[in-house]
Symmetry: D2
Subunit: 342 residues, 4 copies
Amino acid sequence: MKAFAKLRPEQGIDLIEAERPKPGPFDVIVKVKAASVCGTDYHIYRWDEWAREHIKVPRIIGHEFAGEIVETGYDVEPSLKGNLIAAESHIACGKCFQCRTGNSHICERLTIVGVDVDGAFAEYARIPAQNAWPIPKEVPVETASILEPLGNAVHVVYATQSTGNHVAVFGCGPVGLSAVALVKLSGALTISAVDINEYRLKIAQKMGASKIINSTTTDPVEEIHRDTEGRGAGLVLEMSGNDHAIKQAFRVVRNGGTVVLFGIPSKEVLLNIADDVIFKETHVLGIVGREMFRTWYRLESLLKTRKLNLDPLITHRMNLEKLEDAMTLIGSGNCGKIVLTT
Amino acid sequence: MKAFAKLRPEQGIDLIEAERPKPGPFDVIVKVKAASVCGTDYHIYRWDEWAREHIKVPRIIGHEFAGEIVETGYDVEPSLKGNLIAAESHIACGKCFQCRTGNSHICERLTIVGVDVDGAFAEYARIPAQNAWPIPKEVPVETASILEPLGNAVHVVYATQSTGNHVAVFGCGPVGLSAVALVKLSGALTISAVDINEYRLKIAQKMGASKIINSTTTDPVEEIHRDTEGRGAGLVLEMSGNDHAIKQAFRVVRNGGTVVLFGIPSKEVLLNIADDVIFKETHVLGIVGREMFRTWYRLESLLKTRKLNLDPLITHRMNLEKLEDAMTLIGSGNCGKIVLTT
Amino acid sequence: MKAFAKLRPEQGIDLIEAERPKPGPFDVIVKVKAASVCGTDYHIYRWDEWAREHIKVPRIIGHEFAGEIVETGYDVEPSLKGNLIAAESHIACGKCFQCRTGNSHICERLTIVGVDVDGAFAEYARIPAQNAWPIPKEVPVETASILEPLGNAVHVVYATQSTGNHVAVFGCGPVGLSAVALVKLSGALTISAVDINEYRLKIAQKMGASKIINSTTTDPVEEIHRDTEGRGAGLVLEMSGNDHAIKQAFRVVRNGGTVVLFGIPSKEVLLNIADDVIFKETHVLGIVGREMFRTWYRLESLLKTRKLNLDPLITHRMNLEKLEDAMTLIGSGNCGKIVLTT
Amino acid sequence: MKAFAKLRPEQGIDLIEAERPKPGPFDVIVKVKAASVCGTDYHIYRWDEWAREHIKVPRIIGHEFAGEIVETGYDVEPSLKGNLIAAESHIACGKCFQCRTGNSHICERLTIVGVDVDGAFAEYARIPAQNAWPIPKEVPVETASILEPLGNAVHVVYATQSTGNHVAVFGCGPVGLSAVALVKLSGALTISAVDINEYRLKIAQKMGASKIINSTTTDPVEEIHRDTEGRGAGLVLEMSGNDHAIKQAFRVVRNGGTVVLFGIPSKEVLLNIADDVIFKETHVLGIVGREMFRTWYRLESLLKTRKLNLDPLITHRMNLEKLEDAMTLIGSGNCGKIVLTT
C-alpha cells in the first residue's frame, strides 16, 4: 500500500510502498478515508527537537483519521467489518493503575498511533478494536476525521466550568477554535480569543468568540481585565504552548479562577508562582488526549444533536498525496484544519 | 506601649515606645499575650527583596498572636471584652466579589496585620472584631498564638484528599510540620517528609511522617517512586518555596495527582509544563491564608476533640524582648515554632 | 401607606393602611416599584396547611420585588439613596456557622421577607442594606422584580452540570421555566419539559425545551428513556413539588445521574430508595433560595451580557391593587409570572 | 463437588453434589478457601420478598470469597494459576456506557455471583479473570474473604469527606462496622454509631466509634444534636436499610451535610423531602458495590500499610458445612462477620 513515512532523521517525508498491516487478535484494520493533519505531524515533518526525542525512524505518521473497518482480529466481533469509524489515537495498556481506575487516557504505558507505532497517512492502518468508534454513515468522513482533535477540546471544556464564566482562549489552532465553539455552547458570558494570526482570529469569530485579540498589537491582559471590571477571566484555556501566551494566561486569570494547560511548550517556562498561582489561589489543570471513552460519548451526542457548526473549522481539503503542500500551509499559520482524503 | 518596629529600610528591628492603638467602630483592641514568629517576620527583619517591595517603614511587625480583648469599637458587642482570642491576620474588605462569594481569604483588597498595618510584636494590637476568634480559656495561650500558621496547614490539607493517598510534604517549617500531622490524621497511606535540615526532619518524624528524606543526601524523586511501585505520590504539598523543591514536587507527583503550592518562592521558577503538568494531567492548586472562617471552625473542632499533638511543634518559648534572638534562631533553621510571651 | 396584609387565619387578603417602615441601623427602606407573585403568596392567600404552620397574622406579604432606596439606616452608606435595587428576600443572621462559611442561604436562623417579617405588596418595604442588589436603571423594573425567582433557577442550574447532558425538567412554573432557559443556555443536549398544563408547556417551548411532555397524556418516564437510548436523563430538575412528578423524576434519572429537588411537596413522599437511589448511585441535591451573593453576581452577569430572553416568562402585568385577580389567575395555572406595579 | 444450593422456592438451603464449573475464554476457576456470609445470603436462605423477586432456583449461593486460581480460560494468562485471589462479585459487561466511562460498578447489565449466576459456597467457583484480585500469600485467607464487604465500606467512606467532620453511622452490621473503622482512620472529629443490638455496638466501639447509641433506649437525633452544638452531623452513613433509621439519618444531618444511602430497605420509605432535603440543602448519595477497580487498589493499599485492625470484625469462624448454623446466628444479630472455611 502507499504510505507517508519518515525514513531519515531530518526534515521531510517520503511517499513509500509499505506492506498492508495485519491485525493482532484484538485489532482491526481500517481502510483510511480521511485523515487530518495535526501540529504534531508538522513537528515530525520539520524534525524539530521534540521529534528527534520521540520518533524512531522509519515510521508511517498520521493519527487523526476515519475510515472503514475491513478486517478484524481473532478476538474481535467480525460483524464490525464494514463499519465507518473514527479512531482514538491513544493506545492504553488496559492493565495499569490508571487504566483500571477509569483514566486510561493517562495510562502508564501509553503509546500513540503515528508516533510510537505506524500511523494513518496511508491506505490502511491498524488500531485496537476498542479504539474504533462507530460513526453513522450520514456523518461526512471529513467530520469523522477531526473527532480526535475535537475530542481534545471536548475534554478540556467539559473538565471545567464555562457556564456563567468569563472565558479566555489563548491559541486559535484547530483545538483552540473547537474550544471556542464548545465554550460558546456551554453558556460562557464572554469569550476572548487570543492569537497572533488574523486568519485564525477571523475563524475564532465565526466559532463564537465575543472578542478577538491579536496579541501582537493589543495586550490581552489589559484588555480582558478591562472587560471584566478589573477582575480577570474566571476560566483561561491555554491552547497555544507559546511561552508568552502561557505567562499572559496566568496574568489574566482572576483570583480563584482556573487555568487549563493544553498547548505543549517546546521547553521549560518561567512562571511567577507567587503572584500568579499562590496569592490568587489559581487552579491549574493539565489536560491531555481524550477520556476513553467518556469524551467519545460526548462527541457522539454532539454529532447526534447537531449542536456544533464545524464548517468554519475545516478550511482546506486535499488529496492525501499533497501532504507536503499541507505541511507548507501549516507552517504559514493561514489555515484551520486540513483534511486529506484518499 | 512597647513595640518592635521596622524603622529604617535595612536589616534589623527596633524596640520602640509607641502609642496604644484606638479602635475604629468595628475593631477590637487586644492585649497581646503570646505571639509566634513567622518566616515573613524574618524576611522583614532581614530586609530582603520581598520585604523591600512590600513594607513601608515605620511598621510594627508580627501577625501570629493571641491575647485578651480589652477594648471594643462603637459597633462591636461590648461583652466581647475579656475574651481570650486568636487573631486571623488577614483583613478582608467585605465588599468585593471574593468577599461576597465566600472567598474573603482571596479578597481583592486584602491587607495583612504586621505587613500593611501595624502588628502584634507589641503590648496591644488592633484588629477588626470579626478577625478575633474566641478560644476557651483552658487552651494554653501559646497554642492559641499558633492557630494562624496551623490554619494555613488546615486550609492546605482540607482542600485536598489525603485519605488513602501516598503523600509527600516538601519543606518542614512550622506549616509543613503541621501539614504532616494533619495528613497523618486524615489517613494517608504513607507520608514522606522532605527537608535539608535534620533538626526539622526529626520533628517531622514526631509529627507522624512515615519516612523522612534529607534531600541533600537522598533524591526524594527516586525514593518516593521506589516506595510507590514506581507510580509517584498522589498528593504533594510544596511548603518550602525553594525552587529545587518545587521542581522535585512536580517530578514526584503521579499521573492524575495533585500538587499544592503553598511555599512562596522569592523569584520566578522554571517549570517543565509539558512533562510535569500536561502529560500527567496534574492538578495544581495555589493555597494562601485561611478560609474565613471555615478554617477557624475546623481549628476549633480540632482543639475541642484534641485530635492533634502540637507539642513537638513549639520548640522554643522566650520573652517578647528576645525577638532578635528568635530571628537568629530562625536563620539557623534549628527550630520549630518560636513563641514569644509578654 | 397602602399594603396587602393577611389579617385573619383564613382564606383571603386585605388592603390596609399601614405605617411606613423605619430602618434599623443596617437597613434600607425601598419604595416598591414592581412586585411579582410567588406560589408561596398563593399558599398564604389560600391559608393552606403550610401557611397555617408558618405564618403569624397580621403579616404584610410579598417578597419578590424591586424598587428605589429612599432611606438608609444609621450604619448604611447614605449615597445608596436613589439606587434602583432588586431584593434578596432571605435574611441571614451573619453570625452562625453557615453564614460564616459562605452558606448564608442555609443560615441556621434564616428569616424571610413577607413570611417571617413584613413584606413588599406595599408602597414601602424594609430590608437589610446587604439584601439590596443594585440594578442599572436601564433594566426594566419588571425584570428586576423577578430576579429573586430567576435566582432560584440560577442556583439550581449552576449547582449542576447541564452541558452535554440530557436534562429533564419537571414542573413549568416560573422557576421551572427559568431553569429551562438556563439549561438551554448551558448547552444541554436535550431538554424535556414536563407539566400537566398546556399553557405552561407552550411557554416552556419558547424558553428552549427541545420536547414538551404533558404527563396527563404521555408517560414522561417512557418517553425520556426512548429519547436517550433507554438510559435515562443525566440531570433531572424537580421543580413542581408534586409527589407523582417526584417519583417520575427518580425513575427518569440514569445510573450515576443527578436529581435536584427544588419544588416543595406539601407532605411526605414515598420513595423507592433501593431501586431509584442506591442501585443507580443517584446523586440527590436539595436546593433552596439563592447563594448570597454568588447567585446575584451571576444574575448581574446574565443581565449585562443579555444572555436570557425572559419575555415569554412574564405573561401578565397588572396594578398592585389587583392582587386578588392575580391570585385567581395563579389558581388556574394559566399564567407564567405575574408582575404587579404601583 | 460439594455446594450449597437453593433448590426450592421456600426457606432453607441444600448441600448438593454439583459439577465443577468450566471456564469460559475470559474466566478463571477458583478453589474456594474461605467464604463469608452476607445479609443477602440470609435473605435468600429465608426466601423473603426480595429473594422471591431476584433468585431463580436452582442456584448455588455465596459471593464473598477468596481462594486459589486452579484453572484459566483460553484468553487468560495461564501464569495466574496458583495465585491466591479475593473475588469481586459484580460482573460487568464491559461494553455499556457505564463500563466505558469508568463506572462499571453501575453497569447497565450487571450480574452478581451467587445471585444471578452460581456462587461460592462450594468447592470451586467460576468468575471472570478480571474479577480475581491477587492477594499476597501472607494475607490470611479469612481476611481475603471479607475484602468484598470491606470494599463496600471503602467505596462509601472514600466517596465522602470524613476528615474534620462529625460523622454518624446508622447500622452496625459488618459493612457499617468497617465504615466506622475507615471513618476513624480518615480523621473524623466524632463518630456516633447507632444500632439496636448491644453485641454489635460493642464491636463498633472497638472499631473506633467515639459514642455508641442504642436507638431502642436513646434518641440518636437528640443525642447527636446535643454533641454537635445543635447543628447535626456533617456526614451520615445509613448502612442499615431500616426505615426508622433512614428517617433518623435525615433528621440528624446538618444543613448542607451529606447522607449516604447504602443499606437497602425492603420496601418504599416515606421521606420528609421539604424539611430534610430541600430546606437543609442535603446532599444524598446512593452507593452500591465497589468501584472497579479503584476500590480494590485502595483495599490493597490498606492491607499493605496495615492501617486497619479488622480483628474485632470477624467474630466467628466455622466449617463451610455449618452454613445453616451461620444462618441461625445471623438471624439473632449476635455476630460480626462469619467466615466459613473449607
